[in-house]
């Protein structure tokens, strides 16, 4: 029973201690706006060099999974995603906290993260080699269509007007083209500012677009930042479990999306959570509640982003291609440890890799008690803090978080300016989410589009390159389905709605 041996080696007291410490450290770092999961893993990776390879990897896996979950705290309590993976968590988590359900939102995020993390780890354990082979078949054109698929989410993220959402998305894409072009090397839209040569960094931009407008509105009135429905009732674990069980298909679908997107090199948790959120919204019978604190949206986002942990490790371990940025750091740690990633890893060094995978399972399960405990204290503390302390403290975190991404003062300035612009745009009815989506997906879409055009041109037909590859066709079908399915659904529901409104009139 070698698998049982691997499980036992993963559950030694030392490894358990590392898993607990890793989850706690990751959760705390992930909760600070600007400090991403990549940074959490990168900062703590030197501590693992002196450990046995499997133990070191368990610590890194625990930090990674904790950091992805930790991003939900600030997303729910401050409307600022602690990590980019938690962008979609803000859409429902913050409205839930505003109406007094912050404790429920945190518990729900914890449960969804644990389930998503376990699904991702299960795929890593059972299906790593065949799934990695599929991921390798993604070329520039497939990435282009994947980005376009992501951009169709604007329909879900537009509050009120699809056209305004589309304009916000265009603005985000244009912002992503500022700086030196990845293909061709053109210097674009920098206005001779050297500080813009490197472009607009996503993390400071999203801190600014999401957090600064909240701060601006927070100081405008004396009302408390967050409310409580009643006096603190505890973790609200039973209620959260009931909601999660009632949304089991949503959890399963989102975890699957998270795993698959995690496998695709470069896609990552932010795209996974956005895609899952949009799918949850499209298929939910309560889609009208989305944007106003609907638990299904929160569940989708959190289960998907934590599923990318296991998903991203699949190409990392099987092919040596990091699925997500933190996986690149883990890949480096593997090399330092003398572990060579590749298909042979699962046979030649099976002791290390399977002990690590079981360790990841254990760390993910440990996230439930740890996450609930930290989350409850975070919520209680935030409610008790007066605005006069909360506003400068959050502003301080945004500044230091934006600075720490590249150790650059320019990023701080960009963050503040984008934040002020974001607040201004919101006064004209343009929300931040489509802009952020455009900013994230713009570079992927452009690189795929330009490279696909070049490859198609060399082969003799650009159209054939974009429209005949099997995976591309599948994604195009998904795009069409995602754009038109809500309309079909609305048409189907119309007679029933008319019948309902008839007697009332």
């Amino acid at each position: 029973m070698p698998q049982l041996d691997f499980l036992i080696s993963a559950a030694t007291p030392f490894n358990l201690l590392l898993a607990v410490a890793g989850v706690v450290a990751g959760t705390v770092i992930g909760a600070l706006p600007g400090l991403t999961a990549t940074m959490a893993v990168a900062v703590l990776v030197p501590f693992t060099f002196g450990m046995p390879p499997a133990s070191g990897l368990i610590a890194l896996g625990a930090i990674y999974t904790g950091a992805i979950y930790g991003g939900a705290y600030s997303a729910i309590l401050l409307n600022t995603p602690g990590t980019p993976s938690a962008i979609a968590t803000t859409f429902e988590g913050y409205p839930m906290a505003k109406r007094g359900d912050g404790d429920l939102a945190i518990t729900l995020a914890c449960i969804a993260s644990v389930v998503g993390g376990l699904v991702g780890a299960l795929f890593l354990l059972l299906l790593a080699p065949p799934l990695a082979a599929v991921a390798l078949r993604f070329g520039p054109v497939e990435y282009f269509w994947l980005a376009i698929f992501g951009l169709t989410l604007i329909a879900s993220l537009s509050e009120g007007s699809l056209l305004k959402g589309a304009l916000g998305g265009c603005l985000g894409v244009i912002l992503s083209t500022i700086g030196t072009a990845e293909v061709g090397g053109d210097i674009r839209y920098t206005g001779d500012f050297k500080s813009l040569l490197g472009g607009i960094e996503v993390v400071p931009a999203l801190i600014g677009l999401y957090c600064v407008p909240v701060l601006i509105d927070m100081v405008a009135t004396a009302d408390p930042h967050l409310r409580l429905k009643e006096k603190l009732a505890g973790y609200r674990l039973g209620e959260a479990l009931r909601l999660a069980c009632g949304s089991k298909w949503n959890v399963a679908r989102s975890s699957l999306i998270g795993t698959v997107v995690g496998i695709l090199p470069g896609a990552g948790g932010s795209i996974a959570s956005l895609v899952s959120y949009a799918e949850a919204r499209r298929s939910s019978p309560r889609s009208a509640n989305f944007g106003h604190g609907e638990p299904d949206g929160l569940i989708a986002s959190e289960s998907a982003n934590n599923a990318t942990v296991g998903g991203g490790l699949i190409p990392t371990l099987v092919l040596g291609i990091p699925g997500t940025p933190p996986d690149a750091v883990i890949l480096g740690a593997l090399m330092v440890q003398g572990v060579r990633s590749g298909p042979a890893l699962f046979s030649v060094q099976s002791q290390i890799v399977y002990t690590f995978i079981y360790g990841l399972f254990i760390a993910t399960i440990l996230m439930l008690p740890i996450g609930l405990l930290i989350g409850r204290h975070a919520f209680r503390s935030l409610i008790a803090i007066p605005k006069a302390i909360l506003v400068p403290a959050v502003a301080f975190l945004t500044v230091i978080g934006a600075y720490a991404v590249q150790n650059s003062e320019n990023d701080v300035l960009q963050m503040v300016l984008l934040g002020i612009a974001g607040w201004g745009l919101s006064r004209f009815g343009f929300s931040a989410s489509p802009i952020v989506l455009g900013l994230i997906l713009g570079p992927i879409a452009e690189a795929g589009f330009v490279q696909g055009t070049l490859i198609g041109g060399a082969k003799g037909s650009v159209l054939a390159e974009f429209f005949t590859r099997p995976i591309s066709v599948a994604i195009i079908c998904l795009i069409v389905l995602s754009l038109f399915y809500p309309l079909v659904l609305q048409r189907k529901r119309l007679p029933a709605m008319r019948r309902q409104s008839g007697p009332a009139q």
């Binding site: 400090l35 900062v43 007007s161 056209l163 305004k164 589309a166 304009l167 265009c170 603005l171 244009i174 083209t177 072009a181 293909v183 061709g184 090397g185 053109d186 674009r188 839209y189 600064v212 701060l215 601006i216 509105d217 927070m218 100081v219 405008a220 009135t221 004396a222 007066p386 605005k387 006069a388 302390i389 506003v391 400068p392 403290a393 502003a395 301080f396 975190l397 500044v399 230091i400 600075y403 720490a404 150790n407 003062e409 701080v412 300035l413 503040v416 300016l417 934040g419 002020i420 607040w423 745009l425 919101s426 006064r427 004209f428 009815g429 343009f430 879409a445 589009f449 330009v450 055009t453």
Partner: protein, 152 residues
């Protein structure tokens, strides 16, 4: 009683701004190479078209736009200016000095309670602990080279 139809004037103004941004995107893309220009040009055209459609939609389908912002605009402006000043002075005067000044300014902007010596002392102590604690964590724990500037 017929008056002026209730239109989303803010939305129309915002969309007009996007027409200008789109035009600027198209204008400045003329100096790029073919490869570098194709994508921003496509998005620029899309932006202009969406913006014009948005204006047309708001004109043809009257409806209320975004509600006016509630609360003090003065405090909002003060916060934005304080943060902007903080970002600009970060490199010049250093992380701790600019952080301390901005923290106190933002505290003044966000406070709605009556200032008492006890409250002021409590808040300032908390501010010092937060600033100092985060400085130690980032500077020595996470090895982030925080800007030193002319002061600290």
């Amino acid at each position: 009683m017929s008056g002026r139809p209730n239109r989303d004037w803010r939305g129309i103004a915002g969309a007009a701004g996007f027409v200008l941004i789109g035009a600027a995107v198209l204008y400045f893309s003329k100096d790029f190479s073919r490869l570098g220009a194709v994508f921003p040009r496509t998005i620029g055209w899309a932006m202009v078209l969406f913006a014009l459609a948005c204006i047309l939609w708001a004109w043809l389908r009257p409806g209320a736009g975004v509600e006016a912002a509630k609360g003090s605009m003065l405090r909002r402006a003060a916060l934005a200016l304080a943060m902007l000043g903080w970002a600009l002075l970060l490199k010049v005067v250093g992380f701790l000095a600019s952080g301390a000044v901005a923290f106190v300014l933002l505290m003044l902007v966000a406070n709605y309670d009556r200032w008492t010596p006890r409250r002021a002392l409590g808040y300032l102590s908390l501010a010092a602990a937060l600033l100092g604690g985060m400085y130690v964590i980032f500077r020595f724990g996470l090895h982030v080279p925080l800007p030193a500037g002319a002061l600290i």
